[in-house]
Symmetry: C2
Subunit: 432 residues, 2 copies
């Protein structure tokens, strides 16, 4: 495909994407396909000669779309949101074209420097303590990871390296195995200190756990993967109180801040804790500025060597929405979840199972797990909306998460009417 064909096909793809987004409400949110549906629909090996673009674009509706769960449908209330916005998509096109691999400053200075500044912008939106920012030439700083899992792993490995060095310095006679035996990682039943758990969006109290960690010289990593985006609103910022005790903190703008996956924002108070654990310096990656103290080589901050120019997405989204636009977006979702909560509370057959703080409502039919399992089964078989369950203290609970960028009150109302009707069926079937 040459450049002039790309101009044509690229514009067709823009229209396909726009059509998809505009028409997504009309698509069934969860697919009808059974496991193994796809393999028989396509050849069993790659073609020797090129296929045409028409062949491929036709196959999207024929082969791919029937097997897609439409995460951006306004009837998708499952898991947690995954971000989707037009500014982020435009930035991703640019990111793909520049196509640099930003493992060092020299590999593309703009890639590294925009990331550092965007992480400062975002840190300020959250009112993170200054110690986490780069701008004042302190010891802290931010980095984009691929996922919260990677951020947690990076924090864990940095903490481990730091603890090993401390033990080795204090007791040089210890063998490696003896040191390993002394290492302990504490976690809650949702792992690490969490602000907004996946099951029910509960919050650990950092003001309690933080001082203990600091006193005992223990690394404190705080994960706010979903909830973190809400902290840009002053009325939710108090949920982050105590982050000043943390060594590292992360949340996922790719969940709820309109920056398409992947973009997990991680800050550390001491950059050298990360670079001490991950430093990698082969000759082919050395460059003249690296020992100047002026630059950041992000490969020392993460597991992979390669990295895309992901900060472009943040830059486009932050600028095209503005902080106020982003706050309005968060508030709208929170308002919709409270709207759903009040609908549930009006029906005495149902109960709310956890405090509704942000965009997640955990609810169930009063009664057995069996009846709730039956209700969820009916909901997801009808495929008009899509939910997933969780367990809260042995209770089977339905999670209603406000997800789509385009979800409105009307969708929430329709979803609730639908759930009530299915509940009627379930309860009737139970009585019979």
């Amino acid at each position: 495909m040459n450049t002039s064909e790309f101009r044509r096909r690229g514009k067709e793809m823009v229209d396909y994407v726009a059509d998809y987004m505009e028409g997504i409400e009309g698509r069934q949110v969860y697919p009808d396909v059974e496991p193994g549906y796809l393999r028989p629909l396509i050849p069993d090996s790659a073609p020797q000669e090129p296929d045409t673009f028409e062949d491929i674009i036709n196959d999207i509706e024929k082969i791919i779309m029937p097997g897609v769960t439409h995460w951006h449908s306004p009837y998708f209330f499952a898991y947690f949101p995954t971000a989707s916005s037009y500014p982020a998509m435009l930035a991703d096109m640019l990111c793909g074209a520049i196509g640099c691999i930003g493992f060092s400053w020299a590999a593309s200075p703009a890639c590294t420097e925009l990331e550092t500044v965007m992480m400062d912008w975002l840190g300020k939106m959250l009112e993170l303590p200054k110690a986490f920012l780069t701008e004042n030439a302190g010891e802290g700083g931010g980095v984009i990871q691929g996922s919260a899992s990677e951020a947690t792993l990076v924090a864990l490995l940095a903490a481990r390296t730091k603890a090993i060095h401390r033990l080795q310095a204090a007791s040089p006679e210890l063998t490696q195995a003896a040191i390993m035996e002394k290492l302990v990682a504490y976690s809650s039943d949702q792992v690490v200190a969490t602000l907004g758990t996946t099951t029910c969006c509960s919050f650990d109290n950092l003001l309690e756990v933080g001082p203990i960690c600091n006193k005992e010289d223990m690394w404190l990593h705080v994960d706010a993967a979903y909830a973190g985006s809400a902290f840009i609103c002053p009325e939710f910022r108090h949920l982050l109180n105590g982050v000043e005790f943390a060594d590292s903190f992360n949340f996922n703008p790719h969940k709820w801040l309109l920056v398409n996956f992947d973009c997990s924002a991680m800050w550390v108070k001491k950059r050298s804790d990360l670079t001490g654990a991950f430093r990698l310096d082969p000759t082919y990656l050395k460059h003249s500025h690296q020992d100047s103290g002026l630059i950041t080589d992000y490969r020392h901050w993460q597991i992979p060597l390669g990295r895309r120019f992901r900060s472009l997405k943040m830059w486009f989204v932050f600028r095209m929405y503005g902080v106020k636009g982003l706050q309005a977006y968060i508030r709208k979702h929170v308002q919709l979840s409270h709207e759903f909560e009040s609908l549930v509370l009006q029906d005495p057959r149902f109960e709310i199972c956890a405090e509704v703080t942000l965009g997640l409502v955990c609810f169930r039919l009063k009664g057995s797990n069996k009846v709730n399992e039956a209700l969820l089964q009916r909901i997801n078989s009808a495929k008009k909306i899509h939910l997933v369950p969780c367990h809260l203290r042995d209770k089977f609970v339905l999670r209603f998460a406000i997800c789509s960028r385009t979800v409105e009150s009307a969708h929430v109302q329709r979803a609730w009417e639908h759930i009530k009707e299915l509940a009627d069926d379930v309860l009737r079937a139970e009585r019979e």
Copy 2:
């Protein structure tokens, strides 16, 4: 930004991308900026009110491009190639729009199933042993990782879990620390068994190391991050001989197979070795098909929980190039590296430092490291081409890697003329 504005801006961005690609040869391959150049050019916090798209697109040329190292310039010969093709960019636009997170089959069946089939397609292109493929309902299979580093880490953790289980079964009285002390990972001076090292593209002999690993019941992971793409050509396939002894194998289509970053292809002989190490089953990720044995939940195969619909890129690229088109692409790059090699050999002042097998030429001026460091310094200061060095047995060596999709013989000839001229200067300066 609403959908109709996206239609307009998306098409403008397609043209911007096409213009960038068409004009890339005219841009200086390595930027002039100094560390810290970007921060003063942009505000120190995100705007409260939205900026316009025009503001942003203007800032790309003003702020971003001056700091970009142009990896896709035909004068970029540094590191290794990173893939860039129009079909992959089109697929990425679609991937961004669908925006599903494919952690389980149910989270988007098409995302999981296309990946499985594409990994079979690619495995067959490489003539991988059948044990690594999924199609025959065997125990093996393929997965897309983000990077070779992640693939190696996943292999290491799977190997570790397997070894721990074996030791625990054999000697139930061993403490955890005692088990840890017994674990050993062997590596060469380039880490794990490697086909095509980064420094000089050398190859480990799998036919020697493989049988030993199998006999000793040791996990063998083979990394062919760069070189793997070449194995789709029958004349290079012999370099992969012995992969039948491996437990896991990976290479990066995002390097040399025209599938834009990130796309690291990993296969294992026994899926259960991975899923045994990484299994994660909270209630909110359970779905009705998961215990049917019919489906794949890729979250058990990797470090992160989330994953994009990356197989779309493979599908578009494999179909729009065809196997023959991909082979022609590899062969052209190999031919260009041999052309450069022969130019070097014609100049008695220079020497070739490692066998030229694929697209990398390691060369140097006969003489001291100092004179070669001076030559590289002049090359990268002139910024007409971009190279990085390596060390081969204490010798400072220049790496000339064929990288760009659009590089032609004329660029290689011009690069060599330029290097010779700078060598004249360096040698003259040395005599003076």
